[in-house]
Symmetry: C2
Subunit: 147 residues, 2 copies
DNA sequence: ATAATGTGTAACTACGTTAGTTACACTAGC
DNA sequence: GCTAGTGTAACTAACGTAGTTACACATTAT
């Protein structure tokens, strides 16, 4: 289980940037939408900036902006930007090397874990921020579907 | 990132049970191999028991046993037994419903997250405990490969 | 019967990670 | 220069995990 909400909140932030197309968005505005704190938002923006997903305009009237088109941002890019670790954790303390099982269990587990993680990341690479933004917009005007 | 080593240690335990085929294995013996504490091992065995993967023989000479053949235990069964949560966490506090993005972001994220999680679980369903045990055994006698 | 061995479970502790919070130096526009 | 913002660091509170201990209970062996 993932104990972090950074991925969900980061996608929230990015979707908000898409919806305010081109206008710099303040961390306070974002925080009000995500129901959190401007400090938390700025911390996430900082991580997203390091991965080249957002940029920011300093000074009065400033705020956050997308650094590239939403269609070029894959969910896996966002995930990697804010979830540094990997999906599986090995033993906290290394197993007993004098036991036949302990000596080789980790090496034996790695391939299967790697395959699962690769499948996970591949799926996250199939969806782009633009699709999320479109989905959110569509839900905002439900009658557009019926009529 | 997963902060828990339960999945890896559980597979260690189960592989050890395979390697001691049929003989009850004590939590103390397992703990010595996994380099942890008998209490931790028993806690994991308890979770594995709830999912029907292991059983235990009480009393002197007792210990843990596989509850079904290793070829019938998929890694996803083990994962589900000891990692109750899901891969993605949503916002800690619900987003602002008065914001167009806040009102719909979670619903918009769910499908993509669900697809990634499904792909992950499907991959974990492809590998079985018997394969892990075989891989460990093979690494224990490396010359068997060359000769 | 009784002692010895081992499970099952609960309680508590130590530790790490996360999010919330505050503070402050710094930057850009008015 | 004043105002509105960012970027970053520090601290706190809450939570989950693993380590640890303890003890009631079950089974086997003597």
């Amino acid at each position: 289980m993932t104990t972090s909400s950074r991925f969900a909140v980061s996608l929230h932030i990015l979707t908000l940037l898409v919806s305010q197309d081109g206008q710099p968005v303040t961390s306070e505005f974002i925080a009000a939408s995500a129901n959190t704190n401007p400090g938390v938002v700025r911390r996430l923006l900082s991580m997203l900036h390091r991965s080249g997903l957002v940029m920011s305009q300093l000074g009065a009237g400033g705020g956050a902006l997308l650094a590239k088109p939403a269609a070029q941002i894959r969910l896996i890019d966002v995930y990697r930007a804010v979830e540094p670790g990997c999906l599986f954790a090995m033993h906290r303390s290394p197993p007993n090397p004098n036991c036949p099982v302990g000596a080789h269990i980790q090496a034996a587990l790695k391939p299967a874990m790697g395959r699962a993680e690769a499948a996970f990341e591949a799926k996250l690479a199939e969806t782009r921020l633009s699709e999320i933004a479109r989905s959110v917009a569509a839900r905002g005007r439900p009658r557009a579907r019926a009529g």
